[in-house]
Symmetry: C2
Subunit: 234 residues, 2 copies
């Protein structure tokens, strides 16, 4: 039985697309199917992508707007196992978060706990990163709990900040990593390989040569030194 | 004229050693010389290393201990141009910080602004990193200003956190990167390549193949995807 996945998005839906593409590539090996796309915005590009794939695309109920579907009932009616937030800017109601404990994930365009919390979304994150003058930012995929951006971290990946970056160039570089990392995290959660109790996904037992590029190994120290020399303009 | 460098350390002085070794390797190309080592602790291993090199090794004055040298006079007498904090656990007096504005650097065993601030030093940093469940930590070299761990960042490098890490294994992995990164930052500051106004050291114009290992380039996306697949145990 493959997990039934709902993707919630407020924007263009590029992470939704990355997930759909990755699951297409996995084919029968995939552990879940996206069966529902919902948005708080009627004009979200994510809804168009869903319609183009023949997927149910639903506009969610909002206090300010009559009509629309209430999220909890929608997830129930579609028998959703896993909720994937993909650039979803509205707070998910506490009762839905509680019901999907360990079955709701989010992606954040920075290395949480840095540059997270209320008000830290979209370009604001990258502006804050640039303002702080950090040289390393990244992507965080995490379980969603009651506190904004504070759920258990599933995976993180670093992304460098360059001197001439503005929020746009930095956002683009981070987004490319999101599109690679997040679909794989969703697949791992759908397959039960990452759970709230065991979300330690980076495994040091993987073959040495295949470890993440940022891992420092003894025989790589000279290469790291060379890279730092070049980065520092030595 | 090469910069006259003082290294302040409270502990064993492994970063001091890394700086001395790096400057030895640079030979006549080095932009500075370590001419003074000082510590707040009479039993600091860093002092022994200094003595072994024939360098002045000085125990600093402390309120709780009669005698010892006051830091500001010491730096003045030795005509110090650049102050390098290397595991120095005491707060540097504000007047010294002010006098060495843009000429005092520190290294922190995490990616500031995360896991920095008062009380965050040594193993406490790594305990906090593990407690937070982050997957990426790192090293930060920064200029020292009036606020703890908040001076302008010169360079950062990411280090992965593994599932079975404890504070000891993590500290060792981070320290290896410190020993590679920090001497190069000190050399860059001594040479005037990194200043308060221009400490944007990672330069995107370096040749593509020589960029830092964590940089994501178009033709590397497939390699990154493979690494993430392996890291996630796919």
């Amino acid at each position: 039985m493959r997990a039934r996945i709902a993707v919630l998005a407020s924007g263009g839906g590029s992470n939704l697309q990355a997930i759909l593409d990755h699951f297409d590539r996995l084919g029968d090996a995939r552990a879940g199917d996206v069966v529902l796309v919902a948005s708080d915005r009627a004009d979200a590009g994510a809804l168009n992508r869903a319609v183009g794939r023949g997927l149910p695309a639903v506009v969610l109920q909002a206090a300010a707007r009559p009509g629309g579907a209430p999220l909890d009932a929608l997830l129930h009616d579609h028998r959703i196992d896993l909720v994937v937030l993909a650039g979803y800017l509205r707070l998910v109601p506490a009762e839905v978060v509680a019901r999907f404990r360990g079955r709701m994930v989010n992606v954040h365009p920075a290395l949480l706990p840095a540059f997270g919390g209320a008000g830290m979304y979209g370009q604001r994150v990258h502006h804050a990163v640039l303002e702080a003058g950090v040289r390393v930012t990244g992507v965080t995929a995490h379980f969603v709990d009651e506190v904004y951006d504070r759920g258990r971290i599933i995976a993180q990946w670093p992304v460098p900040v360059f001197p001439r970056d503005d929020a746009g160039t930095l956002a683009a570089r981070v987004l490319r990593v999101e599109h690679i990392l997040y679909p794989r995290v969703v697949a791992a959660v759908a397959a039960g390989r990452a759970t709230l109790d065991n979300c330690a996904l980076i495994d040091p037992r993987v073959p040495v040569d295949a470890r993440p590029a940022f891992t420092l190994l003894a025989h790589e120290e000279s290469r790291l030194a060379e890279n730092i020399d070049l980065a520092l303009g030595c």
